[in-house]
Symmetry: C2
Subunit: 327 residues, 2 copies
């Protein structure tokens, strides 16, 4: 490809902007989890971030990068929930009016949290990419500042701060890092992480994960062809996208060492395993990395592998079903 | 009373000792939780600490205060789970052999976590105070260093570091703090917090909470008479003590502004409320503060109240029952 979408300096700049508003999340390991998976797992606890999801980094990165004039206009984003919470949290912290576009049927707990953070909610359409179209309309009609959850360059830069923290924390505790396994919704986490690893010259392959019911980027990656796919059918709404994104797709093609799919049953099993061995709740997408470790066993057995628990915002009904082994 | 059991300087010293091993836990607020309770709740997230419970502070405070000679002997503690995990975590971090005495029937997830941290487990007796007797025997028979989970002065000093963080965090975000509500197991958290508040001259009443099925210290506090009570019957094993403790009882009598009891059903309801409004899991004892806010509504309505979510280590069966409304 011609150019990598963001630079290492973009990630460093995002870190400087967001650090006044959030501290680093913990990086921990658990003997029981390691035993269950046959490898040493470094768990990055984005479930402990404000709003319980890494997307607060993306929201903060966008809002702190806006000009004063843009902030007065107000900002609009589209979301399945976590990015909206992150943007709303950031808007509240910086005094910026936030409008969030969501499709019908979004996780009710995430919706309540966005409202609790003072965001205006516009509900329309049936999936994430429909909500993006509504966002574009509000940008046109109301003059709001567009904070696209994937294509805005401050987004992968914000998500890349996770990798900065992991490298620093692993170094401080003398942990090896042989590989990273990262869930792909739009690709901001993976592109951000690869930006950091490449600049540092770290030999650390990054593996992507998608859900079987939302496999468009996975399929496109294997064919090296961008596309729009079918409406997602996974219960992991945090990774339920159905298209490749301009800002991230080429970088994913160039950078990822592999890409695997996990079923909803495997995600539910990974949520139970994480709870049982670490007493942390992951939402379905947040357990994607753990679920993928089972699939990548042949390549990763005995190694030290970083996994990002991207969020904890599962709705109560789904959590109950998972714990009851009904999923 | 004649003398307060620990000094503010003891808490500061404990903070200096534990800080290299753990960062501050977050202090956050949630509009949905505030709306449900009719007050502004400052939630201190000890559920985000290593081992998912504040007791890691107590374990670290004790082990870091031991002499090199004592560390070579190894340390022994008694626990219902969280203090054992904290001590085991501290022992692993500092290279000290840890023996943990537990009664039969302890939370299986906590037991697995202690084993995962490399502790030797001795199971004997039927409740916490039985395990204390076993600990005393091992101190005598094996020459281990005794790390009593309440009476060791480094314990309330370690727990007091929570209050240092809360005051600093509330100041940084311009939050008022009108009162604290603190669960009493042995009393280390409350005594530690009151040590800090008194030294700072803060007009901030501290209310104690116990479970109806483990109300010995509550009853003794009302009568101002130490005692040994019946075997606890609450499902909140983190607060399931049955006696007053030498180091903390007089200070609780002198310092607490009030003391309320909560039922197991109220604890389960508070666990659900906390999950629903914040997406954090509290173990039953960890939800004691939230449960008590309902009882203290007349005194605290409209105020800004600090509550410590002391831990997240509920076993899976209990969590499932709580979410299923079977408790």
């Amino acid at each position: 490809m011609s150019t990598w979408p963001i630079s290492y300096d973009d990630v460093l700049a995002a870190e400087r902007r967001i650090r006044p508003y959030m501290t680093a999340t913990p990086l921990r390991s658990y003997a029981e989890l390691d035993d269950a998976l046959g490898m040493h797992v470094l768990v990055k606890h984005e479930n402990h971030a404000p709003t319980n999801a890494f997307k607060v980094r993306n929201g903060l990165s966008v809002v702190t990068a806006m000009t004063e004039a843009d902030r007065r206009l107000g900002v609009v984003g589209a979301t399945m929930g976590n990015y909206g919470q992150g943007l709303a949290w950031a808007g509240r912290a910086l005094g910026v009016t936030v409008t969030i576009c969501v499709p019908h049927g979004v996780n009710p707990d995430k919706l309540a949290a966005m409202r609790g953070l003072g965001a205006r909610i516009v509900t329309e359409g049936s999936d994430y990419d429909d909500a993006i179209a509504v966002m574009d309309r509000l940008v046109h009609d109301e003059g709001l500042y567009p904070a696209h959850g994937v294509n805005h360059p401050a987004v992968p830069a914000g998500a890349g701060t996770i990798m900065l923290e992991i490298l620093e924390q692993a170094k401080a505790t003398n942990e090896l890092l042989d590989a990273m396994v990262i869930v792909i919704g739009g690709g901001s986490q993976a592109v951000g992480a690869m930006t950091v690893l490449r600049h540092r010259g770290r030999e650390c392959p990054v593996f992507g994960v998608q859900a079987q019911g939302a496999a468009t980027i996975h399929d496109a990656w294997h064919d090296r062809e961008p596309r729009i796919g079918p409406t997602p059918t996974t219960f992991a709404e945090g990774m339920a996208t159905r298209q490749t994104y301009e800002l991230t797709f080429d970088a994913l093609c160039e950078g990822l060492a592999g890409f695997v799919l996990v079923s909803d049953a495997e995600l539910a099993g990974a949520m139970r395993l994480l709870w049982q061995t670490t007493h942390n709740i992951a939402e379905p997408a947040g357990a994607g990395g753990i679920a993928a470790l089972g699939k990548l066993g042949d390549r990763l057995r005995g190694k030290s592998v970083g996994v990002i628990i991207s969020g904890a915002n599962v709705d109560t009904t789904t959590l109950r079903q998972v714990l009851n082994h009904e999923m």
